[in-house]
Structures are given as structure tokens and as C-alpha cells.
Symmetry: C3
Subunit: 284 residues, 3 copies
Amino acid sequence: MPLIPQQPPSVDTIIAAHAALRAQGPLVQCLTNTVSVNFMANVLLAAGASPAMVDNPEEAAGFAAIAGAVLVNLGTPTDAQVRAMRLAVQAAHSLGRPWVLDPIGAGVLPWRGQVAAELLAQRPTVIRGNAAEIIGLAGLGNSQAKGFDSSSDPADAMPAAITLLKYATCVSASGAIDHVVGKVQNEHGEVSHHLLRIAGGSALLPRITASGCSLGALVAAYAAATGDGFCAAAAAHVHVALAAEYAEPQAQGPGSFLPAFLDGLDRVDASLIRAKAQVESVRL
Amino acid sequence: MPLIPQQPPSVDTIIAAHAALRAQGPLVQCLTNTVSVNFMANVLLAAGASPAMVDNPEEAAGFAAIAGAVLVNLGTPTDAQVRAMRLAVQAAHSLGRPWVLDPIGAGVLPWRGQVAAELLAQRPTVIRGNAAEIIGLAGLGNSQAKGFDSSSDPADAMPAAITLLKYATCVSASGAIDHVVGKVQNEHGEVSHHLLRIAGGSALLPRITASGCSLGALVAAYAAATGDGFCAAAAAHVHVALAAEYAEPQAQGPGSFLPAFLDGLDRVDASLIRAKAQVESVRL
Amino acid sequence: MPLIPQQPPSVDTIIAAHAALRAQGPLVQCLTNTVSVNFMANVLLAAGASPAMVDNPEEAAGFAAIAGAVLVNLGTPTDAQVRAMRLAVQAAHSLGRPWVLDPIGAGVLPWRGQVAAELLAQRPTVIRGNAAEIIGLAGLGNSQAKGFDSSSDPADAMPAAITLLKYATCVSASGAIDHVVGKVQNEHGEVSHHLLRIAGGSALLPRITASGCSLGALVAAYAAATGDGFCAAAAAHVHVALAAEYAEPQAQGPGSFLPAFLDGLDRVDASLIRAKAQVESVRL
């Protein structure tokens, strides 16, 4: 059973999650698309986690037993990689290991849409996507997605995100203001839904490829470090937003933003989170 | 039927093509090699297009119907990716969607050479390669290619390039001075061949991997935006040359050239094209 | 038969190896993991070699006959890539072409461990890994590897490395101080084992992904240029260490270290090697 926290994440719990990430350096197994794989590994290393991209069917389940968390990203699936995803996710589910689903293109392309639907049955800890992908995954209608970079307003994805909470403990939709919805359970066992609006970041983030994919991997790293999917998603979004804010004034464009963003992931610390995190919490 | 322009591309049509690219942000489906895939996506994003690397046989044809253009690059083909290439290219051809062939290694390695020959039957809008690759693809003799980085003088590839115009509306051979040949049709329906020599760029461009591959993707992006393969190739070559010229004085070597080149792709605009493009046009 | 040198590598032979690399620009065939493939190609280009990532079963053996050396890296093997590895390595072995094995994860994951054991029978010229991987490959017990980034002390891997000299002419274990062991044969045909301890480098090197993988490819490039595996490993380790030392003072973190490290690989020259290489040689 995934952990459902008693409180929604706050700046304090995000700072504690960051300290746990740095102390543990969790190992994250990424089954991801070919575009993101190098950058994602560098993002995890810069943030303080340890990446391993074991994504063949021969090894995926065995490695899920070693890893602290598993990320499944549907960006460029192959037949063999999809078999590996099923095996890794079954292993993670049966071992109680957190795993994160990034359903790129699932609402646009039927083959991977079917794969995503299957994987949902294994109860991802967190589902992360852009607004169009969250809408597409929930099957709530046309997402007007243009390719994979589309950004519908995350606020428009909230009904879809809440629907997906029947599978996951937390669902996040990235955009100008990231929207993260998750479950909270009080001492009487009553479950409520909370929304975090996380502001900040940089307009250059969507100008570099795999920034969203790498955010998904960082959610998995935080989930490994904390066991709490809602807090993990919040902490990863804040971490990425602050790193982007560090990078933007140093960048001359999207190219020079790339190394500065990795530097920023390395630099984020408790005092920066305390000073700069923009997190608004709403009970739904 | 692919569009054959009435005039060869000029600086004015290249500026108009750039404006169209920026206005439309065309979606480009890339079936490309593993070395290039991340950099190519960043090149497309920096230039103003939208990348999607859908390259499995289950989805390639379906996505070609969504994309504005398709790029096929033979750098690291697998059996499954080749099946996806065939399907994507058939879909593009039957839908009248532009597509670009980058025949890396086709003259050196028989298996992919056979694949390239098959794909030619689906009439690429543009064929882009270095001089050795264009010579190899045309089967005009030994290309003296050393691996995939060889640069025979593009001028030596002109007979091969002209031979390949029976398949494509435009063929480009990259090198110190890029050579782009294409068809022009006058008001009486008479077709003539024109050569553009595009100078500029930087000696650091061939020192970074996938710069040529990414140029191929940018040709596809411009073809999606303009519908005119000859103009697309010219505009993409000019765009890359100017971005490289922006980057070179900022670089300490090939490593720092990489982010600066992406910044340059973002910065190229009408006034820079007007001031700096070096395009010489010759009727053959 | 692989060349066994009469003397262990010295700074003079490393300088000569570097001159040979720059003069020849050897073509290196890399069958490597998806995380490393782009960075590895840029590392080879920056250092002065020419990369080609031909890793499908249809072409791998044929290309090994063209390449100057072959690198096999087990980071993200697929069934098809493993078939290509077997074919490339058989071709390299039968042609007397140098090849390098990087056994990532071979001690942790049984499937690739079996593949690594098979490949050893084809006598790699050099085996390169971190300490945990060398220990894992030799089967000398548990390596306490955490994922693929672990760094046991290379000194602890020396018994394992010496065991592996029955397969290879040289074995290197990377770490804070790299340990490179190799065979030397005197004029009477007597073989002895020598250890080089190579110091320097930067604490930022393990903070970027694929730095070790790329070092393996550079070993292959030097082996192509010199024919001497022991010297190749020593030269590649020194080249990487000096490039990292060039990069570190220019970097604000792991992100900005990346381009600066590539610049450093380009800048290393005879005078820098003479002034800065830290190589200690010990007869075992």
C-alpha cells in the first residue's frame, strides 16, 4: 500500500525530502525514451540521485528489486521496452516500490495509449505529464495536443488529474504554473484531495527537450527517498523550478540554459527552497 | 506531387521561410540514429520547430499523418526501426507530406544501402548528406568515406547529386561550402537545375557529433513550413551556418560550441539572414 | 596476437600515443549504452578520433573490418545489440583488431554477466570499468555495487584486475586514483605485471553521466592508434584526467563541467601531458 500522508506537502516537508534525497542518493531505474536518456541521467546525478537505465525484458524486473524507485516514460516505446516496462512495474508493485508513470503521447497514439492503460492497473505512485497528456490519459476528451510539447493550461487538466487519483496517490500536470493533486488522509481515515500550485521556473524550460521527462525521473528519486508520492512530486517540481530560476539569468538562450540548469539542480539547498519556493496549497 | 518552385531560393525566400517556421512551429517526426536524437530535438526546439521521435513500427505511419514532415536518418538502423521507416515514408508519400532522407553510411554498408535504395522509391522531398554519402547513395563509385565523418569536397558530389534529382526535388551535400542542387520549373513547365553554394559556418561544426544529422531535421522542419524542398534545404543550411557563426567566437572549443550553437539557432532572425547569408546561385 | 610491450607506458610513450591519435584520427566502432552514445561520440571527436556507433547484427561484423578498434559497453544491452556485440568482437578478434570491454553491471545482473563471460573468450585487448565492475567481472565476490555508479577503491580491485589479465593485455579500474595493470614482456619472453597509478582528474567527473563509458571509448581510440593496449589505457586515462583538470576551474557545477571537459579533451597536448601527467609505475 502506498503511503498517504496526513498533511499535504509544505515547504518544510519539501526541505526534509531534499535532505533525504541528498543523504540517500537513491538509485532510480529509468525505462525512458531515447531523447531523454542522457539528459535524465545527468539531471538525476546533478540533483543528487543515482540513475540506471535498465530497460530490457531480461533484466528489468530483477533490477526493480535493487532500485529505490522505477520511472516509466512512454516517449519512444519499442516492443521489447514495453515488455520490460510491464515486468519492471509488476515487480515494483509487488515489492511495494514506488514507481512513476510519464504517459507521453498516450492520448494521441493508440498503441501506447493501450500500454498506458495496462500499466495503470499496476498503480503508479505518481503520474506526471503535461496538461494535454494528463487529459489524454484520463480519456476525458480531445487534448488538442500538438505533438508532445503541447501545453494546455494545467488548470484545464484538473478534472482529468482528479479522475486519475483512483489509480495513483498523486498526479501532476506541468505548465506555466505546475498543478499537483494528491491524497491526504486524516487520523479518522478520511481521504481528501489537495491541490498544490507551484509557480516559478523559466520560460526556457520548455525550450529544451526532455525537461519534463527528467522531472518525472526526479519525482521517482524523491519517491524513493521519502516513500511519499505527493511530497515527492511537490519536491521535484520545486527543485526543478528553482534550478531553472538559477539558470535563466546565466543563459543566452536555450543552449546555454542546459548546463546552467544542471548546475542549478546541484545548487538547490534548504535555504534556497526556504527563500524561493512558491507553493500554494488548496483543499479540493 | 511535390512543389517545384518557379525560382531558385533567394535570401528573400529564405527570410520568408524562416518567418513561416517561427509562425508555425511545425511538428517534425524524426526516425533517427541514437547518437543524434537528443541533440536533434534540441536543435529543432531552438530553431523554432517541434520534435517528436516516433520511430516504432506500431506508430510510425499513424504519426506521419499528424506530423508536418518526416525525417529518416540511417545512422544506427535496427530491424524494427527500418520497418518503421518504410511505414512512415509510405504514409508521408501517399499523404503528400514532405520527407527528408539522410543516407548516413549507405555507400559503405550494404544492408543500409539496400534500405536507402528502397526508400528512394518513395521519393524523398530532399536528400541531405555529406559529399561522400551523396556519392555513395548515387552509386557513382567509391566515396573514400572514412567512417561517417568523411568530407569529400561537396563540389565532387555534384554529378551524384544531380543524378539523385530523379528521385528528389533537392539534394544537398554539406562541407566547407555547402552545395544544394534543386529543380526549378518555369511558366512553360520546363524544368532546370540550379546550384546554390552556401558559405559560412564554422570549422567547429564537424567537431561536434550530429550537426549534419540535425541539419537534416531542420530541412524537414522548413519543408513542413514552406512545402518547397529546395527552399527548405537552402533555408536550413543558411540557418545552421549563421548559428555556427554566432557560436564560434563564444566557444573555447567543441564543447562550449555546443550550447552556443543552440543559442545561435534561437537568435537567427530576418536581419541576421539579410546581413550575413552567403548564397551564390548558379543555373546548371 | 595482441602486442605486449617491452616496457610499461611512461609519459614519453603517452605523448607519442597522443601524437599518433591526432595524426591518425582513428575510426572507433562503439556498441554502447543509450545513455552514453551522444556524449561518447563528442568525447571521441574532441579528443581527435572518429566515432561510428554501428551496433546492429546486420552490420556490426562488417564494420569491425573497417574500424580501427571496437568498443563494447554493456550498459543497456538489448537482445539484438548483444548479437551485434558477439559478431563485432569475433570479427575484431579474428582480424587482430583491438577491442575494449566495458562490463557495466556485469557483476550485478546475471544476464549481462553471462554475456560478459562469453565475450571474455574473444580476448579483449583492454577491460575497463570502475572498481566494483572489475571485481564483479572477475567473480571475486560481492562488489557492494550500488547501481552502476559505485566506486569501491580501485586498489581493492587489484586482485580481480590481475586475475582478468589472463584474458586481456590490460585491465583498468577507475576511481579517485585510476589503477591500470598490464603485461610487459622482456627480451627473453618473460612476462611481468605492472601497475600504473594515475592521479589527477576532478571530483566533477563522476557527477556527469557516461564519463567512464567515454573513457572506455577513448581507450579503444588509443588502441587503434598504437596497437598497444597497456599504453592505450594509460594514455586515455591521462588524457581524461588532464581534460577534467582543465575543466574544473571553469565549471560552476556538473552542468558547466560538461562542455568545459570536451574543450579540455581538445586542448590536451604534448606540453600539457609533460607538465601535468601524474603516473606512478610499480612492478607487481
